[in-house]
């Protein structure tokens, strides 16, 4: 043991783990030092942004020079750093959205920033871990942070309720996850994903096979809960609705992406146990999730709740290509990763517009948007772009994201599955265009006219511009982005196989 530890080049290891260590250390620092700087909200904000940017820089450096090394249960390949970059982008965007929101809602507390940083550390562990236990630990670090964040607005009953529900259901789901890992360990004697992948089903026979499959199912339940697959989705609507909208933004984007990152790692290791059965389970879950998500979203009047259901539906779209994993693992993985990026940009954008409108109270109903096209043309236009992108209408990033997803299914012969996906997109047009209609075709109410109209904090506008440009430019020229992601994926999947 000691000798093994000595063999590691610690300097290299430090460099490789910097993107993980920075959020962890930064969060710890904020908690320790925070009380002394309690008044200085600005310091906390700038410090967290600096930490995130620094981590982003190192993650990018490591991405450029990644070597597929596995060190002590952690796997440092480009895929890890790609997802680290995704999390950090989502983190930075959330931070930018949070500053003015916290001020105007009286929620200024340093723990907020520390919790966000811890959550991002957990997410990175989920993707970097090549051992199921590390994945689990990362998931718990992330979850616990997010439970607290969801209830951050203690004065609001809905927020507290959201935290409690999230915690109860989440704890329930985690127990299944842990149980699943235990079963797998019992059946195979290992929790190492690489070993599991290399040995495959070969080491299973007789009764152990049943244990392994039970483990696999329970694992799927635990991870499916995180990305709100049907029937583990009920919490999502209540939690997204109740949590402060900045936290909802973070949950809908970063947390979901982390779930998918972990799922891709696990699927790679375990799908071969029962490829056909696995594919069947996936398509059933995918169809159910997207259909129920879309149908439930149809009549929502509150955009937070509507986007919650829409995020359920998007999870359904995103797992759809997994049916083809056994045939074209690399391209399936890159299409899902691409979609996560697209989804982060357009969802953050849509929430950012809502935040830009919420000065003293959250303005998230469709009625709050009416007449926005004349009041604030840019906000209305960018909101329209984000909603069209979520619908999947070209030439936006959302279109290409969805296109690559469905393309995988079509190439693997699941044409009917892609058709169901497209029909679902058509259903979603109805509720995505509802706000657009309100913005451009309904008259503003009397108090909207009177009220302060030009309140838009700079940082929020920066986020809207960033996501706006991302969604439109990458929508026009998606190939570079896709190349980047394919490179990240191929270093893992080719090397692994």
């Amino acid at each position: 043991m000691m000798q093994e530890l000595l063999k590691i080049d610690w300097l290299v290891f430090l460099r490789q783990t910097l993107p993980l260590l920075l959020p962890l250390g930064g969060g710890g620092f904020l908690l320790l030092v925070g009380p002394f700087f309690k008044r200085s909200h600005r310091f906390n904000f700038i410090f967290s942004i600096a930490i995130a940017l620094l981590a982003l820089f190192f993650a990018w450096q490591e991405w450029l020079g990644a070597t597929n090394q596995t060190v002590n249960l952690l796997l440092f390949d480009r895929f890890t750093y790609l997802f680290a970059i995704l999390f950090l982008i989502a983190l930075i965007l959330t931070l930018l959205l949070s500053y003015s929101y916290l001020e105007s809602f009286g929620l200024v507390r340093p723990e907020y920033y520390a919790l966000l940083l811890f959550a991002v550390f957990g997410m990175m562990c989920m993707v970097a871990g090549h051992d199921l236990m590390v994945v689990f630990l990362g998931l718990e670090v992330m979850s616990v942070s997010v439970y607290v964040l969801a209830g951050f607005q203690r004065s609001n009953v809905l927020s507290v309720e959201a935290a409690l529900k999230y915690f109860l259901v989440g704890a329930f789901a985690s127990s299944f996850l842990l149980m699943g890992i235990a079963f797998i360990y019992g059946a195979t004697g290992t929790t190492d994903l690489i070993v599991l992948h290399q040995k495959g089903l070969g080491m299973l026979a007789g009764e152990t096979r049943v244990y392994a499959l039970v483990g696999l199912s329970l694992l799927a339940v635990g991870l499916g809960f995180k990305i709100a697959l049907v029937p583990f989705h009920f919490w999502a609507a209540d939690v997204y609705h109740g949590a402060p909208v900045i936290v909802t933004t973070f949950m809908a984007t970063a947390v979901k992406a982390a779930g998918f990152g972990a799922i891709l790692r696990v699927v790679w290791a375990l799908f071969q146990w029962e490829p056909l059965l696995f594919a069947n389970m996936i398509w059933v879950a995918s169809v159910l999730t997207m259909t129920i998500g879309n149908i439930a979203a149809l009549t929502q009047k509150n955009l937070k709740r509507m986007l919650a259901y829409s995020s359920i539906a998007h999870a359904g779209y995103a797992i759809l290509p997994l049916v083809a994993f056994s045939k074209q693992g690399a391209s399936v993985t890159s299409s899902i990763s691409f979609y996560m990026l697209a989804y982060i940009l357009m969802t953050v954008g849509a929430f950012a517009v809502l935040i830009a409108l919420s000065e003293k109270e959250e303005k998230c109903t469709i009625q709050d948007l009416s007449g926005l096209g004349t009041r604030k043309p840019f906000l209305a236009f960018s909101m329209t772009l984000f909603l069209l992108s979520l619908t999947g209408i070209p030439p936006t990033l959302g279109f290409f994201g969805k296109y690559y997803l469905f393309l995988q299914a079509v190439q693997a012969g699941y044409i009917w599955l892609a058709v169901i996906g497209v029909i679902n997109s058509v259903i979603s047009v109805y509720y995505y265009l509802g706000p657009v209609v309100a913005m451009y075709f309904s008259k503003e109410t009397a108090d909207q006219k009177v009220g302060p109209t030009y309140w838009s904090p700079q940082a929020v506008l920066v986020v809207i511009w960033f996501t706006f440009l991302g969604v439109s430019l990458f929508g026009l020229f998606p190939s570079n982005l896709l190349d980047l992601i394919q490179t990240s994926v191929s270093s893992w999947l080719v090397a692994g196989k």
Binding site: V169, L218, V221, P231, F234, I292
Partner: protein, 665 residues
């Protein structure tokens, strides 16, 4: 200066600017007019004019630079240039479309006409539209038109040509309906758009036909293997298209009929005169309507494969030429007369294309752009001076008040009538001579008669407008004034071009060098144009002199009658009442179309398609039915979402059980 320029900018890069500058102008002025109207301010005229006219002029200068560069190539080389693809627009497994520009003799001629005449008309518009509310919007549309037109003539593939083709159609629609507050003008815009759609359907089918044919053969694997719409590729593989050349050419010709206003799709062009007069000059006379001619000339290698299609093109052209000329005899709206003359002249160009004289067609296209722009702008000047009056029966004697307009208009009329030595003489003579020489005697006869009619109605116009006694009240007569210098300058400039524009193509029979034909022979091949020309010089001279005298005598006749003996035509009209009414009412073609096509379609769609199928079946059961179904499901799904955690966990456990059951058993 050229050398320093080339040090920094390659011609290929410069070439993109020709197209990009008008687009930039359109964007800037478009945004400017939007912003100005949002803040309820008037757009600044000087800024709009600077952008709106400056960029097209710059674009013209660049075109000249490229022209000079390309003719500077050493002897033996064709003056052609293809810019590398700007980017690949469509890349799929079996079709690639690149965005590239193609400069050869043909497109150079077109680019110079479009940017040159276009710039002049932009400058003229500064005066003409000076009092209009939508000044910035107008220039934005006009620049956008220029952009699409340049894309049309410069695009190196059929797809780009089509993009430009549709784009100019859009701009034409927007500009015809520029004063959209007036419902008849808005309706004229719609008519143009819809009639063009019929032609475009043919065009698209032709394109699909080419794609289907070429993609069904295994072309040799090169980098251009899947560039099926690229002109070079089509030309290179035109042998594959041989068996289906006739349908392809006819379908494409249908598109040309729509855009270039030929029988049976010409009906939109007279109505299109509802737009501002400079627009009529630029779009509906000089450039856009010639797109069909350009397209067939560009695809000449396809058309020569199908003698049948060539015959059809020639006959449609000839019949349109004489048909529109007869209508022109009786019209009383100054712009309508010019509109029918445009249709007629376009007919001549198609006649030339149909008999294989591609370069003669392009030659006539060029001179026509000069003199028809001149005529329209002169008409605009008259309308401007008369405060919007367009009926020539109320004009008369205007040469006293507006000499520049009057004399440049006479030059234009002489040019279109084919009178020596004006531009139209050489180009029209080339067409008639090639028709005659090619053995198409009956076509030649039609063209010959049409030329006489042209001279007659043009000088009728001149006589009634500028000569004789004024036909208006005293007060109005005193208000008539010559147009501002920005308009007069353009008229003079185009007047000069209408005189000398034809001299680049003086045929060898008259001791000229026939430079224009030689210049274009790189595109059209030598044999089509010049086969056995040398022996026929004597015949050519005789024919030319005959047709000159023929036109001249009609011109004199008309100007004498309409300037001095105005009662004669009225008497004639009374004598041949039926014939007069037939022609005056444009052969009732509009009414015929309305009766045969429009009304049955409208009735059918209102009664059956809308009343029964759409409102009853689709709306009731399809659309609303699907909606109701979704809402029902939505109720079911949201009913489960009670907010009670225990219930969520119950569903959770059910899910777990189902998954376990699915995986393990």
């Amino acid at each position: 200066m050229l050398r320093t320029l080339y040090q920094y900018i390659a011609p290929q890069t410069l070439a993109w600017l020709i197209v990009a500058l008008p687009l930039a102008g359109a964007t800037i002025n478009g945004f400017y007019s939007l912003v100005a109207s949002r803040f309820h301010k008037h757009a600044s005229h000087s800024f709009t004019s600077l952008i709106g006219c400056g960029l097209p002029v710059l674009s013209f200068v660049i075109s000249l630079l490229i022209f000079v560069t390309l003719i500077g190539f050493s002897a033996g080389q064709d003056p052609t240039m293809i810019t590398g693809p700007l980017f690949q627009w469509v890349v799929t497994g079996n079709l690639t479309i690149d965005l590239g520009l193609k400069f050869d003799q043909l497109s150079l001629v077109m680019v110079l006409i479009v940017t040159g005449v276009g710039s002049l008309i932009h400058i003229y518009s500064m005066g003409y539209m000076g009092h209009d509310e939508g000044y910035a919007r107008y220039f934005s549309y006009l620049n956008l038109f220029l952009f699409f037109m340049l894309l049309l003539v410069l695009g190196d593939s059929l797809v780009l040509l089509f993009v430009g083709w549709e784009g100019v159609g859009l701009c034409s629609y927007l500009l015809i309906g520029f004063w959209f507050e007036d419902p008849t003008k808005a309706a004229a815009g719609k008519k143009a758009f819809i009639v063009n759609r019929i032609g475009d359907a043919g065009f698209l089918l032709g394109m699909f036909f080419i794609y289907a044919t070429l993609s069904s053969h295994n072309l040799p694997p090169t980098e251009h293997q899947y560039n099926f719409f690229n002109f070079e590729v089509i030309k290179h593989h035109s042998a594959y298209l041989m068996p289906v050349a006739t349908p392809i050419c006819l379908l494409l010709f249908l598109g040309a009929c729509g855009k270039s206003a030929q029988i049976p799709l010409y009906v939109w062009l007279p109505d299109a005169m509802a737009g501002p007069t400079p627009v009529s000059a630029l779009i509906h006379a000089a450039t856009m309507v010639t797109a069909g001619i350009y397209m067939i000339a560009r695809l000449n290698f396809l058309y020569v494969l199908s003698p049948t299609a060539m015959q059809v093109v020639a006959w449609i052209g000839a019949i349109t030429a004489i048909f529109a000329a007869t209508i022109g005899l009786t019209q009383t709206d100054i712009k309508k007369v010019l509109a029918y003359s445009t249709i007629s002249q376009l007919g001549y160009m198609f006649l030339a294309l149909g008999v294989g004289a591609f370069s003669a067609a392009i030659f006539h296209l060029m001179t026509h752009a000069f003199f028809k722009a001149l005529l329209f702008l002169g008409a605009g000047s008259v309308i401007h001076a008369m405060g919007g009056e367009q009926d020539i029966r109320n004009f008369g004697g205007l040469k006293e008040k507006m000499p520049i307009t009057a004399w440049t208009f006479v030059i234009g009329a002489a040019a279109i009538s084919g009178i020596f030595p004006f531009a139209g003489f050489f180009s029209k003579d080339a067409i008639l001579w090639h028709t005659f020489h090619g053995g198409h005697i009956s076509l030649w006869l039609i063209g010959f008669v049409g030329a006489g009619l042209t001279a007659f109605y043009m000088f009728r116009l001149v006589g009634m407008t500028f000569f004789g006694q004024p036909q208006m009240g005293r007060g109005e007569w005193q208000k008539v004034h010559e147009s501002p210098p920005s308009m007069g300058f353009v008229l003079l400039f185009l007047g000069v071009l209408s005189v000398i524009g034809g001299w680049v193509g003086i045929p060898e029979a008259f001791g000229g060098g026939d430079h224009f034909h030689h210049w274009l022979s790189g595109v059209f091949g030598k044999m089509v144009v010049h086969e056995g020309m040398e022996e026929g010089h004597a015949a050519e001279i005789i024919l030319t002199v005959v047709s000159l005298l023929w036109s001249l005598h009609f011109a004199i006749l008309a100007s004498v009658i309409y300037a001095q003996r105005r009662e004669w035509p009225t008497k004639m009209a009374e004598k041949f009442q039926f014939l007069y009414k037939l022609i005056f009412n444009k052969y009732w073609i509009d009414e015929l179309y309305d009766f045969i096509i429009v009304r049955p379609l409208v009735t059918l769609s209102e009664k059956v398609f809308w009343g029964v199928i759409d409102a009853k079946v689709i709306d009731q059961y399809g659309v609303h039915g699907a909606g109701r179904l979704m809402i029902f499901w939505n109720r079911c799904v949201t009913a489960v979402q009670t907010g009670v955690v225990q219930q969520y966990l119950l569903f959770f456990v059910i899910g777990v059980v189902l998954i376990l059951w699915g995986f393990v058993f």
